[in-house]
């Protein structure tokens, strides 16, 4: 049900954009107003989320240690998997964010003739990594539409991305990787029974949305060509706060930008905030040094405890009989 609902929502969004531009002629709404709302929602929403998380303190130092602690000098310390200082944490976080270190550990657990066996399972890691990296590169590539003149670094990125030198316009490999990896991530939500069981509409919706964005993007570049000069004109208008709607920008562009707008506006209200949240995860971004350096809990408060005095008062006679020393005779 969640999947169907998400798919139909995504399709309705496509129709809204199409009808809005083709039938109702709401070019300015879809080409300027909605993108502005989306960008503002995204920025304010994400900042709000981060501040909200940051407003809750980290009372205890609770890293999940995944390697040998720092202890005796002759025991090899696992500096990254069990960091004892800031440098180790930075490397650990970099590996986590850039290479999905924890997901790389993934195993498949199976039962064979009453025995549990563990196999390597790297597909989720691979698809996840491929998806996130290609998304990032595609996003960066789009900066050629936001800035003029296009900086050299972007040309370099494009030449890497288009290294296959196929076709005209040149085929960008990241587009293919994005569509393939999102399709896989969607496929496994249907195919793996446990994953299907836990999946919510919120899990399918962004996948359909990104798939729609990718498909309209590919269509625009290779098949239903849009006027690149005018499109850039429109987008530059948005970013220079002088929005205008030039002629000859195809309907497909409006669908594309509408889906992107929805994704940005949806972002802060959804699980997609994991992008920001991962940096704040206390099981990953803390060093395991709470015996070396005292960690302070800002809301630490005194508690009612059973003191030695209470204890001795209750057991004094028994203690004396047993020859245990006491404070008061």
């Amino acid at each position: 049900m969640g999947a169907l609902l998400s798919l139909s929502t995504a399709l309705i969004l496509v129709l809204i954009a199409f009808a809005g531009v083709k039938e109702a002629n709401l070019h300015f709404l879809f080409g300027a107003i909605i993108p502005y709302i989306a960008i503002i929602t995204f920025i304010i929403g994400v900042i709000y989320r981060i501040l909200k998380w940051a407003s809750s303190p980290v009372p205890f130092r609770i890293p999940t240690t995944c390697g040998q602690q720092k202890s005796l000098p002759w025991i090899k310390h696992s500096k990254i998997e069990n960091p004892s200082g800031t440098l180790g944490v930075i490397v650990r976080m970099a590996l986590e964010v850039l290479l999905f270190r924890s997901l790389f550990r993934n195993l498949k657990t199976e039962l064979r003739e009453g025995k549990v066996v563990y196999g390597s399972e790297k597909w989720l890691w691979l698809a996840g990594l491929a998806f996130h990296w290609s998304f990032l590169i595609i996003l960066l590539r789009h900066f050629r539409l936001f800035v003029d003149p296009v900086p050299a670094s972007l040309h370099l990125l494009e030449s890497f991305d288009g290294f296959l030198q196929i076709g005209m316009p040149r085929l960008f490999i990241t587009g293919i990787i994005l569509l393939a990896s999102v399709s896989y991530l969607l496929f496994r939500r249907f195919y793996i029974p446990q994953v299907r069981y836990i999946s919510l509409a919120n899990d399918y919706f962004p996948l359909f949305l990104i798939l729609g964005i990718g498909i309209t993007g590919v269509l625009m570049r290779y098949f239903i060509k849009v006027d690149v000069v005018n499109t850039k004109h429109l987008i530059m208008g948005i970013f220079t706060l002088k929005p205008e709607i030039p002629e000859g920008v195809g309907g497909i562009f409006y669908i594309h930008i509408f889906l992107v707008s929805v994704l940005f506006a949806y972002f802060p209200f959804s699980k997609l905030v994991h992008m920001a949240g991962v940096f704040m995860s206390p099981t990953r971004n803390l060093s395991n040094n709470s015996r070396m350096k005292r960690h302070i809990n800002p809301w630490n408060y005194p508690v009612k405890a059973h003191t030695y005095e209470d204890y001795e008062n209750e057991f004094r006679e028994k203690m004396k009989k047993a020859g245990l020393p006491v404070e008061k005779e």
């Binding site: 009453g114 563990y118 059973h306 204890y311």
Partner: protein
């Protein structure tokens, strides 16, 4: 035991395929043998916990306070404000499913609500309903649901089917830690008086007598003296430890299980022998007679109340530093919580081994040394005369305990000790040890009798790995550094593996330790004959 546990054959038929019906529409079913009895009122009263009354989890009416929903939700709001972990982990899960088959309870039961992600969703769905806009507006579509009595019961059932081992958090791409979620979940349930008897009892005992088992000071002393006579029989050496002694250099704290029940008692004998042989200036305390802390499985405040005694006693006795025995969750707390709760430990000194002069730099603030760190350092400096052949009748493997692995990272120290006191050591498969170690199935206060089926299910992956090394190498002894392991693994081994016994690392040390003036040893600490020299040469 009131519930008949199915046979291993029956139990190992596990279906991982989730049912057709959606989880939110599937009401919780309290299966016999999978849950613990509700706490008796006297235990809650003893420590001033709310809503003491007689109740059974299987009852229709849980005798909740009238405004229970308000209490629960307000408690949730308070904890969202106090714990970044909780707020973040409620928000950022993407339900990728990487954690699903990492939980020993899921592997052993196939119950989809034992997948860490779904265990957390039980609470997350309530969070969404009352604390997020989308959940308030969209309800079920956004994965949100009302908090009803049935939902509360479901949360209770599954919060007490998590042993807070943190294995899932190793694999989660965002480090979401189910232990944080179930610790806080249990804390919320405790606001309504919904603890288990097996946790509430030890908590009440511990508060009054200093230890979970409720051992009073004179009895504590007596049980140690009982071991001393055993040691004298085996080694010919008379040991006289001190209790509650002011001015000792070191305070030794260990879980009370080691002073009470086999096979932990043999580990305790190992400590006594080692300290005697070193001539260590140390003392036991009958007041700080428990390193473990079932308060941790109740609420953060209760945990803090119970662990007050450790620094307080060290201060009263005027020791220089604290040495901690082999225990799992005790060491997660000593490593990650104690100094934050009750520090700074500025009345102590930075710990230095009086035997080797080694400074324990890694604990220069909290001044708490793990006994495996202490002993490994002794062996490295050649301060112990060891005869590992006295453990030749044992083929040993090592079980990393959850808390010391994923909440500390003490992997090499115990292995170094074992390799120096035993000749036959074999590792279990890589995916089942160190940071990927599997729980005994009974951690976090689940080691009761009435939930034996759950414990056998939860311990299935661990037992399976032991069976593997038993078949491959003839392993017959499972070593560990945790008192709950020593209590929980023997029945697990009897159930799934057979003929593998359980030991603490310092029992092995006690066997191998050649003491000054000892008589020739013919038996080990369990009074079982050593492999004779002749039969070894054959």
């Amino acid at each position: 035991m009131s519930n008949k546990v199915p046979t291993p054959d029956e139990l190992s038929k596990i279906d991982y395929k989730p049912p057709k019906r959606k989880w939110m529409d599937t009401p919780v079913e309290f299966k016999p043998g999978t849950w613990c009895y509700g706490s008796r009122p006297k235990y809650l009263e003893a420590v001033g916990m709310p809503n003491p009354r007689d109740w059974k989890p299987s009852d229709e009416d849980w005798k909740l306070p009238e405004n229970w929903k308000e209490i629960f939700l307000e408690g949730m709001e308070e904890r969202l404000r106090k714990y970044r972990s909780f707020r973040l982990f409620m928000d950022i899960c993407v339900r990728c499913g990487a954690c699903a088959d990492k939980c020993h309870f899921f592997i052993g039961s196939g119950d989809p609500k034992n997948m860490p992600v779904l265990r957390a969703e039980l609470l997350r769905s309530v969070y969404r309903k009352y604390f997020t806009t989308s959940g308030k507006l969209l309800g079920k579509v956004a994965g949100a649901r009302e908090l009803t009595v049935d939902v509360l019961k479901e949360i209770w059932y599954y919060m007490y089917q998590c042993s807070e081992c943190r294995r899932c958090s190793v694999f989660c791409p965002y480090g979401i830690d189910t232990a944080e979620i179930t610790l806080i979940g249990r804390e919320l349930l405790n606001l309504l008086g919904l603890n288990t008897d097996w946790i509430a009892g030890p908590v009440a005992n511990c508060y009054r007598t200093g230890n979970h088992l409720g051992i009073e000071p004179h009895t504590f002393k007596n049980s140690l003296e009982f071991f001393l006579s055993d040691i004298e029989d085996i080694t010919g050496i008379k040991i006289e430890p001190s209790f509650n002694r002011k001015g000792a250099e070191i305070l030794f704290v260990t879980p009370s299980g080691d002073t009470f029940a086999d096979p932990g008692t043999y580990t305790c004998m190992g400590y006594l022998m080692l300290f005697h042989e070193l001539g260590l200036d140390y003392t036991w305390s009958t007041y700080a007679s428990e390193g473990g802390n079932f308060g941790f499985f109740t609420s953060n405040e209760m945990a803090k109340r119970l662990h007050y005694k450790i620094f307080a006693e060290a201060k009263r006795l005027g020791v220089k530093w604290i040495l901690g025995g082999e225990c799992g969750h005790m060491w997660r707390l000593l490593n990650q919580y104690l100094d934050t709760w009750h520090g700074p430990a500025d009345f102590l000194e930075e710990p230095v081994s009086p035997i080797t002069g080694t400074k324990f730099e890694n604990t220069k603030s909290s001044r708490l040394v793990h006994i495996a760190e202490f002993t490994a350092d002794l062996i490295k400096h050649g301060k112990l005369n060891l005869d590992p052949s006295r453990n030749d009748h044992l083929k040993v493997t090592f079980h990393d305990s959850c808390n010391t692995s994923r909440g500390m990272g003490i992997f090499e120290e115990p292995r170094y000790i074992i390799k120096n006191v035993c000749n036959h050591f074999y590792e279990m498969p890589e995916d089942t040890i160190r940071e990927k170690t599997f729980c005994c199935g009974s951690g976090s206060g689940l080691n009761a009798g009435e939930n034996m089926e759950l414990r056998m299910r939860g311990g299935f992956p661990r037992a399976n790995a032991v069976r593997f090394v038993k078949e491959k190498h003839g392993v017959n002894m499972l070593a560990n550094i945790c008192a709950i392991d020593r209590a929980a693994l023997p029945p697990l081994m009897d159930y799934w593996v057979t003929d593998v016994r359980v030991t603490g690392v310092h029992e092995l040390v006690g066997n191998a330790l050649v003491m000054k003036g000892e008589k020739e040893r013919t038996v080990d600490l369990r009074n079982e004959p050593l492999t004779s020299k002749e039969s070894k040469e054959e």
